[in-house]
């Protein structure tokens, strides 16, 4: 099986590391065509480079999404509105 995939990769019939890594965003998002996704699954599953690389790519996204909180200052709206009342020419 492995040998077969390797042979296909060499013959350009299956994606190589460069191709797999450049389409990771689509792979993660699930927007790859089904056939390509299966080839990616196979490649990532057996490739010593793309395996850890993909894990790290995914971990990086996970970390980015982790830090979600920004404290909203309590007086934010009032603050902004009083600035606008001073500077914007509202109609009443």
């Amino acid at each position: 099986m492995k040998a077969l995939i390797m042979a296909k990769t060499l013959l350009g019939m299956a994606p190589n590391c460069k191709k797999v890594t450049s389409f990771l965003a689509e792979y993660v998002e699930g927007t790859l065509p089904e056939k390509l996704r299966q080839q990616f699954d196979q490649h990532i599953g057996m490739c010593k480079c793309c395996g850890p690389y993909f894990e790290q790519y995914r971990a990086t996204i996970g970390m980015i999404k982790e830090g979600k909180e920004v404290a909203i200052p309590s007086e934010l709206v009032e603050h902004t509105m009083s600035f606008l009342r001073k500077n914007a020419d509202f109609k009443h």
Binding site: T21, Q56, G67, V70, P73, N87
Partner: protein, 208 residues
């Protein structure tokens, strides 16, 4: 919670009243500010990292929106247009205040992996789960890395991965194509991975 008088009910996905906004109606703006301030403030704050300056930029954003209402073409959602103003102002402010040197496009390019005949030139090594498990470190390393990104890459990471706006919305906010958003998001993530790699590899940190 009950809305006071005037008989209109608080809908959760309130579309701003464009006619009232165009007419310069104060109440309509007040509603807009109340609805959009938190989310817009978060984006601006993530770009700038400074609360006071973020408040100023937020005010300036609504003032510019007020002054430029007549230029809104209704080709995008109104909030997309509003956020575009805020993001532009925030990026302008960031450019002015930039003390730390950030990466440029060539640096981002250097942080992408190299290939020879389709294979990795340098094989990626696994990360140390013990190092990854340190939440405080993880945060620190990641945010240091995000701060180093060129500001357009940074804005895309914030808008797509953190605030989870769609590619199309982000494209409109930044006035670039959807394809450019996709490419830069991927390159930004890869650059971040490479920067994090030095922290999370096994037996790294030979020096303090």
């Amino acid at each position: 919670m009950t809305e006071t008088a005037r008989g209109h009910i608080d809908k959760t996905s309130l579309e701003p009243d464009l006619e009232a906004l165009l007419a310069g109606d104060e109440k309509a703006f007040e509603l807009l500010v109340a609805q959009e301030s938190p989310r817009l403030f978060r984006i601006i704050h993530r770009i700038l990292g400074d609360e006071e300056e973020s408040k100023n930029i937020l005010q300036e954003t609504f003032l510019q929106a007020f002054q430029r209402m007549h230029t809104f073409r209704r080709e995008s959602k109104f909030t997309t247009w509003l956020y575009a103003i805020g993001i532009n102002l925030a990026r302008g402010s960031l450019r002015k205040s930039k003390r730390m040197t950030s990466l440029d496009d060539a640096d981002v390019e250097r942080l992408q992996p190299s290939f020879s005949k389709g294979m990795f030139v340098e094989s990626p090594q696994s990360w140390d789960p013990l190092k990854l498990a340190e939440r405080t470190d993880r945060h620190k390393f990641l945010h240091q890395a995000i701060d180093k990104l060129p500001e357009d890459y940074k804005a895309i990471v914030i808008l797509r991965d953190i605030e989870e706006h769609s590619t199309e919305e982000v494209a409109k906010m930044l006035n670039i194509t959807g394809g450019a958003v996709r490419v830069r998001l991927h390159r930004a993530r890869v650059a971040l991975r490479t920067m994090l790699n030095t922290h999370f590899q096994y037996q790294s940190q030979s020096s303090k």
